[in-house]
Symmetry: C2
Subunit: 200 residues, 2 copies
DNA sequence: GAATATTCGGACCATCGGTCCGCTTGTCAA
DNA sequence: TTGACAAGCGGACCGATGGTCCGAATATTC
């Protein structure tokens, strides 16, 4: 069962149309200002269709975002080093962050829209959990002896920086990858910091 | 001109009533689920009054949050060290973060509501600008030679951790100030990290 | 106590996410 | 080819919500 008797041809066509329409609207207008009515209209389908395919506004944005990050995710799971398994934690982490920053820089508006839509559920999104787990693991590996919970917190802290608006503000015309550079420096600072003094 | 002929007595009374009502509702129900209709009803005033006083949902939440952080702000500007001027940057920063974390831990739900309402304008809020400037200055002072822009980025990164939901998730029953401890460790790690290698 | 500026309050509006259901259309077996 | 049936479509509809407006009410001032 691939997924219950295949998706009908028109359904697949509409799914693509909706994704492309949403993508276009988010790119043109800011992250918000993209109501589902407009997406449906732009895609040339009814609103019901959008919901049938994606369940909710959140689902639509999530689908777009996962489409963008699928390659990175696969490369991490079973691609060649330094992204994939095998490389030292430190190299894997910077390679991963480099990839994620690239996605963020190219999709800042989409990030904003997604954050807005997710709201509270942000920390339970499968994608978020995956990124978080990956970072936390690598951090713990690179800094042996670090408290596990604190490694998790550092992972949250690193991911917290991926805010659409912050990405947009950090980027600059003459240095498009400034966000990436900043995040990388931040991550390295965390890895290279001396062991924290025992607090309590 | 205090502010144009004083505020009328009933107006002041209503302002307080609305603030207290909003506070109560946010505390009881989660950060969202606090519509302005309900706030108005709970306060025993008309909806128009809420808007007249606070301009918008965002304005109301902001007012609540600034009420909570006013003391900290004043202590920083002209209070005694280590919060106020005079102490070494490192001590000032940890003292400040300690204070801000305290506020965050006590008002996680409010934080969530405010983030939701601010959306894109987050980085232009007077409060945010104040915190950001303060942190960036202290970081630059504690790590001389650090690129100014990067100090600013680190400030954003530190503030990005103050996400209502993250605060709630980091706190734990048996260790209420776990969020504070984590943030402090994070900040110290950033201050103590060795100078980053020149990238480009 | 009257004149006046300010404020009140809730009806009203537009928008938006999400639901529903009668109609259309792709699919597949005969 | 055709017919029957499941799957999908689309847009009218709904409830909630942020925000506006203006006649009524009231604090303030002289």
């Amino acid at each position: 069962m691939a997924e219950q008797r295949q998706e009908r041809a028109d359904a697949a066509r509409n799914r693509r149309a909706v994704l492309r329409a949403a993508e276009r609207l988010v790119a043109e207008h800011g992250g918000d200002h993209v109501s589902l009515d407009r997406v449906a209209a732009e895609a040339g389908v009814g609103k019901g269709t959008v919901f049938r395919r994606f369940g909710s506004r959140t689902g639509l944005l999530r689908a777009l975002l996962e489409e963008r990050s699928l390659a990175l995710r696969e490369a991490i799971v079973d691609g060649p080093p330094p992204l994939g398994p095998g490389a030292p934690a430190r190299e894997r982490l910077t390679a991963f962050l480099d990839g994620l920053c690239g996605i963020a820089e190219a999709n800042a508006a989409l990030l904003t829209a997604h954050e807005q839509a997710c709201a509270d559920a942000k920390y339970t999104e499968p994608s978020y959990l995956f990124w978080h787990d990956h970072i936390a693991t690598l951090v713990a590996e690179a800094r042996t002896g670090l408290d596990t919970d604190f490694a998790g917190f550092l992972a949250h802290a690193l991911l917290a920086v991926f805010d659409g608006e912050l990405v947009r503000r950090t980027a600059s015309p003459e240095e498009p990858r400034r966000f990436t550079r900043s995040v990388t420096e931040l991550a390295l600072a965390l890895l290279d910091a001396p062991a924290p003094p025992r607090i309590s």
